[in-house]
Amino acid sequence: MTEGTPDSTRIGVSARPWWRGPRANRLGLPAAIVAAGLVLALGLGSLGALLWQAPRWDVARLWQEPYLLAIVRFSVWQATLSTLASLGLGVVVAVALARRPRFAGRTLLLRAMELSLVIPSLLALFGLVAVHGRQGWAAPLVQALPLGQANQSPDYLYGLSGIVLAHVFFNLPLSARLMLQALESVPTTHWRLVAQFGLGRGAIWRLVEWPCLRRLLPRLAALVFTLCFSSFAIVMTLGGGPGSSTLEVALYQAIKYDNDLALAALLALTQLVVCLGLWALALAAGGMPRLAGSASERSLGPGFRRDAFGLRRLTDAVVLLALAALLLPPLIAVVTAGLAGLPALVGDARVWAAAARSLAMAAAAGLAAVLLATALLSGCAALAERGHTAASAFLEGSGQLILILPAMVMGTGLFLLLRPRLGGDVEGYVLVIVVNAMMALPFALQVLRNAVLGLATAQRRIADQLGVHGLSRARWLVWPRLRRPAALALAYAMTLSLGDFSVIALFGSPSAPTLPMLLYQQLGGYRWQGAAATALLLLILVVAVFALLLGLTRRLPRYAWRGAHHAAPSVAASRLR
């Protein structure tokens, strides 16, 4: 485009290749249908295979086993509590972080937030226990509280409170990070108006923050709920007793011990019904994003805000310190545990080979997840534009299927489907990549949603008038606003599959382990130090992936002549006052 002379572009409308022509604009929908078809085939296919193999199944068993009902009740209860706590606190944190675009350690805090989502549950457990356990770092502090239990070790980590604490540790950073991303995409003009009108706290919340978060919250709630509902090791280990278990436990028993595929399918369907119901509600309540920041305008975040001074300084400091106190100590516990084993690890070629293997698989899975998410969302946009909101919501909802379907069910089902053809190592790895990509899809969808769907009609019309179509449109109109969310989505998807063990465990591993497999081998063989060091390496890789991808897509000043302008709004606004 830059090289083409004006003449050739103007005259040669019909001569340009089809992928730059207007027809290519409509590729979004078919791509989305292919993507959705793939996800649905994988998800429903594996569930179907399980049902097919099951000799007989009657729904009545669900209420004939009283403990199943109890499990469902408990799962819903703990997941609801965890979701409310994660999102409620997440809003507070996101608002505070958005209000403070610059402070020492902000980047560090953001990195820590990204880490806590992807840290393998076994390590998170280790970190949480080291800090909040009966002998943990926090125990002396808790004992000092005037609550009467002066000489008793604190037990709050075991039981419902511990489950919720662990889930908040995992999900608060995720939800706050995504909400922060949404808040930061509020157009600069909004913030200028806020500054000009001198809006106060309540007004900013009502007019800017809440409308921005409201569209995000239902989906986020459904995502977090699903994650908490199906969490396995955390709920069991911190739950204290068999009363607190999830459907996965019953599922594990049915599949692994009792070979009761009928019951397994039934349990999977139960989980599907609960979570799909929630997703349907969320998708109905969410609506489409209305106004997102336009690509041409560098989002400066808030400039001058009246609510950023005085007492707010103190409350923001408290909120951010509390966040740091929640996130950092368990991570530090994991890091310090790993440091001792690090020297031995550096010299171990197997570890580095495993790391390279993990990274390569994660890159493939992450890329696939981002591509699938983009395809799905552009299809959603096309459908929504034509007024088919229900179909659009369905398309988007299909991307969540893999998250809702228990991994064990999918693994077993896929195995049954592909059985004669699952011999070679390579096929196993490919399958792991595909399933990992599907598992990361819901996260990628969350991150990319606003960027893809928020393309304003006005901008599309201008593009139509200028004759920017197809690939050119993707490159010049969509990509600039997509690159940063895409990098974040890729980073999340990559790190999710970096830390994933569940899928690999399903298909069995040949002689070449990935990093999480190595970690579990080490744990199974009493190699605590080595395992902690491997975990540390995993965390370092995660940080590196995030830093690299976000660094590569950092927005540079796009319009040189406006460079001087950039610092202006806040200064100008404060002068205006």
Binding site: F126, V129, R134, Y158, M236, G241, V249, Q253
Partner: protein, 355 residues
């Protein structure tokens, strides 16, 4: 206007892409995906596929040593496929049925034997078991033991100088003595404890569980969570594990801090077995491998590689720390009894613990 408008940063874009491409190339690099040793000599040699579990094939586990020793002797290629645990091996076998590529399965413990036998996929081992030195008499003609151990509560000597010496003492201990156990539905030691208590208390097992429950800090989902995340963090002075666990701490970490508590009622046994697959193309080779299991060349990798007792008398090859372990009486249910009652006993435990 568009020359300004559309000036991009191709360098940035391409650097991002090249990062991905570089990762892709690293991914395609084939030595990453298979053991070089395996690739090097895939001549005419027959291949023996062994399904086993993750920690067996670890670099420090018995796997590598066993592979080397057997390949020298058989002129074949031994290939391990590592699954999560014994129960995953059984499930894989069940799903694959007669089409399984396994020639040998290694890692089915006594509690899985009953279900595995019912699959009708395994062949008699035809190995002379005279060399076996298990604490119990072993007559099974399909499943061949390769190692064994006892379930036990491991305690931290610094936190608990005087551990309970019997179940009764543990159940009667003051409530602030906490233990960490794991769930019988999802973990092997968890099921072991369930059977242990059932064997000791019989019809009064539910009563025993009720008395135990105030002492249970938490029921972890698996052994790793219980031992690594909780016990090593000092959350409780007692954890359910194996009587051989201290051997690892003493031999490799050079510490006497962790020891197993000896209970006067006796300890429940764990026997891990291997079996040949009847439909295998290499059935003779599979039987050679099973015979190899009862030789010192296999067994010497067991004590510190798998942290279990070897199935034969190793003589001087047994690491000296194994002489310092507890030697209690031990017992077990038959695989048939476990197969028949496991569901009921788990339900009994569920009821007793939620009371």
């Amino acid at each position: 206007m568009h020359s300004i408008f559309f000036r991009s940063r191709p360098a940035r874009l391409s650097s991002g892409l090249s990062f991905i491409v570089a990762l892709g190339c690293a991914g395609a690099w084939s030595p990453l995906w298979a053991d070089q040793a395996d690739q090097a000599d895939q001549g005419e040699r027959p291949e023996l596929t062994v399904y086993t579990y993750e920690s067996f094939v670890a670099e420090w586990g018995p796997g590598p040593g066993v592979e080397q020793a057997f390949e020298v002797r058989c002129g074949c290629d031994l290939r391990f496929v590592a699954l999560g645990g014994g129960v995953d091996i059984l499930q894989r076998l069940r799903l694959e049925g007669a089409s399984t590529e396994a020639d040998v399965v290694l890692g089915l413990d006594m509690n899985l034997i009953h279900d595995a036998r019912e699959l009708d996929l395994l062949a008699p081992h035809q190995v002379d078991t005279a060399a076996l030195t298990l604490p119990i008499d072993w007559q099974d003609d399909t499943f061949l033991p390769y190692d064994w151990g006892r379930f036990a509560f491991v305690y931290d000597r610094q936190a608990l100088p005087e551990p309970p010496t019997s179940f009764e003492e543990l159940l009667d201990a003051p409530e602030d003595l906490k233990v960490i156990i794991s769930d019988p539905r999802t973990s092997v030691p968890g099921l072991g404890l369930l059977l242990w208590i059932k064997h000791v208390y019989g019809d009064r097992a539910d009563e025993a569980w009720e008395r135990l429950s105030p002492h249970i800090l938490t029921v972890a989902s698996g052994w790793s969570q219980a031992y690594f995340s909780l016990f090593m963090n000092g959350e409780a002075p007692l954890v359910l594990s194996y009587s051989t666990s201290p051997a690892y701490h003493m031999a490799v970490e050079n510490t006497d801090r962790y020891q197993a508590a000896e209970f006067s009622e006796g300890h429940y046994l764990q026997v891990e077995t291997a079996a040949a697959v009847a439909g295998s193309d290499e059935l003779d080779l599979a039987r050679d491998f099973l015979a190899f299991i009862l030789t010192p060349d296999f067994q010497r990798h067991i004590p510190l590689g798998n942290v279990m007792y070897p199935a034969i008398d190793l003589g001087d090859d047994l690491p000296p720390v194994f002489d310092r372990l507890i030697e209690p009486d031990s017992f077990t249910f038959t695989p048939e009894e476990v197969g028949e009652h496991r569901r009921d006993w788990i339900r009994e435990w569920l009821n007793a613990s939620s009371r």
